[in-house]
Symmetry: C2
Subunit: 147 residues, 2 copies
């Protein structure tokens, strides 16, 4: 299960993706629109800012904007920032590799072998889907395939 926090982050980004270009959206507007506790959302957006996903403007008329175009922000990178490694085992993580405590011969680990496939399949989906895909009207994928 992904965390509530990650869900909030993705929803918040879809709001920013749908905003007019260059127009910052206030935290409180995002929070209201997506039913996210405002103070919690503040932390989330701050994380996303520190990791280069969004930018902010302070003071009156301030708010948040996407730093990159929505079709350049993948679900995978957002999940990594908020929830940590995508991989189901530490020894399969690309960004946070760690040997399993109870495993000595990693190459021959029966478990690892199977979960490597799971990780690949998951990554394939998460890194090929962007925030733009999420906000696209349903049926857009078909449209694109026909184009």
């Amino acid at each position: 299960m992904i965390t509530q926090k990650a869900k909030y982050a993705l929803r918040a980004l879809t709001v920013l993706a749908e905003a007019d270009d260059g127009e910052p959206v206030m935290i409180s507007d995002i929070a209201a629109q997506q039913k996210i506790p405002k103070k919690f959302l503040e932390q989330i957006l701050l994380d996303l800012k520190h990791q280069g996903i969004v930018v902010s403007r302070r003071g009156k008329q301030g708010g948040y904007l996407l730093l990159k175009p929505a079709d350049m922000i993948t679900f995978g990178e957002v999940l990594r920032i908020i929830d940590g490694p995508i991989a189901p085992l530490p020894c399969l993580s690309i960004t946070a590799y760690r040997k399993c405590d109870d495993c000595d011969d990693e190459q021959n680990c029966e478990i690892r072998h199977v979960f490597a496939k799971v990780a690949d399949a998951t990554r394939k989906v998460l890194f090929s889907t962007t925030i733009a895909d999420a906000v696209a009207p349903r049926g857009a994928e078909v449209t694109r395939m026909l184009a």
Copy 2:
């Protein structure tokens, strides 16, 4: 990430799969062989027993055996028993569906749509891989494909 408990469960089952047919394996042997805390393993095997994956014999000369052949026990069903739902969102779980608190129109949820693909891809791997696959010598898959 899957839990340590699930990893232990899968490893324990591979031990049972490699045991001689009809020969029970003692908890302490499994624990020693796979470096699993014995008392913790007791609980795990008990769960697996209650869910019809293994059977036990009590008393002296007792131990555990697989209830079904190893190639009929999938990673998916073991994970469900130990870690709960496979799905990354409660609203995508087959066995434990629950509406997301913050979501009213499930059909049009942008997030759900993406994670449905993740769930499908994950299930495809987890329910097509069995304990028998895990214990099979490396290269067996290729062998099978050439056969």
